[in-house]
Symmetry: C2
Subunit: 114 residues, 2 copies
DNA sequence: TAATTATTTCGATAATCGTCGAATTATCGT
DNA sequence: ACGATAATTCGACGATTATCGAAATAATTA
């Protein structure tokens, strides 16, 4: 159990989100909530070929940002909010000036959540 | 003046951070604060060849995450905390479940800052 | 079992990314 | 002006990424 994210995982997550289709895809799943969406529905919404979508889905799964489960014929994908939260925490703690005060307010706000 | 970040800028910023050397580099500049660091010092700290570092620096500059200014012979780079803050805001607002409540606490905390 | 639906995997291809060393630009000191 | 220092730009190369269509896998229905 790793409650915190290391640099490698962070890079993996950032890379997974750093693509037009995948960012849109992740946003879609976040909007949708825990119920998730079937791959086919996602492909249609994004206007991407199924085989291409599969590629992008795997990137997000591998980065831990989304989960997959089979339900009869379909495979349902859902956003993993915990992973996203850990990513945000890493960025806040490591990339938002703890010592100097530039990003301190944001940092302080995040700390309150823990 | 765009106080908010659109998807394209977000992808650019995410991609810029999604690399071992660049994430480390950005963290280094954030730690360093407004004073910034010269390219040569950064190259030495990261153990990267100057020409390779230049490549990575340009990615971060292009994404707006760092700034550069020439001071005599050296070029000083510094983290742009505003840009990082906008990236965090975009992610919080678009990738952290506004409607459904999964990531709502984090979202609420961020809203208070605005 | 055979046909259908939902999705992934594979193979080929084009495009982008990252690294290196050599050449180039800019600035400073003498 | 000349040599030294600091950094970037360029060109080549290998590695990774993204896309597409065809084939394969899994589950349902007739």
């Amino acid at each position: 159990m790793d409650a915190t994210m290391d640099a490698k995982q962070t890079i993996s997550a950032l890379g997974a989100l750093a693509h037009e289709n995948r960012l849109q895809l992740f946003r879609l799943l976040v909007q949708r909530g825990p119920e998730g969406l079937a791959a086919g529905v996602i492909a249609e919404r994004l206007g991407v070929l199924p085989s291409s979508l599969s590629f992008h889905l795997q990137q997000l799964v591998h980065a831990g940002l989304i989960t997959q489960k089979r339900v009869s014929r379909q495979i349902i994908y859902a956003a993993n909010c915990d992973a996203m939260g850990r990513l945000m925490a890493y960025l806040t703690e490591n990339c938002c000036a703890e010592a100097s005060g530039a990003c301190a307010p944001a940092d302080a706000a995040w700390r309150k959540l823990a």
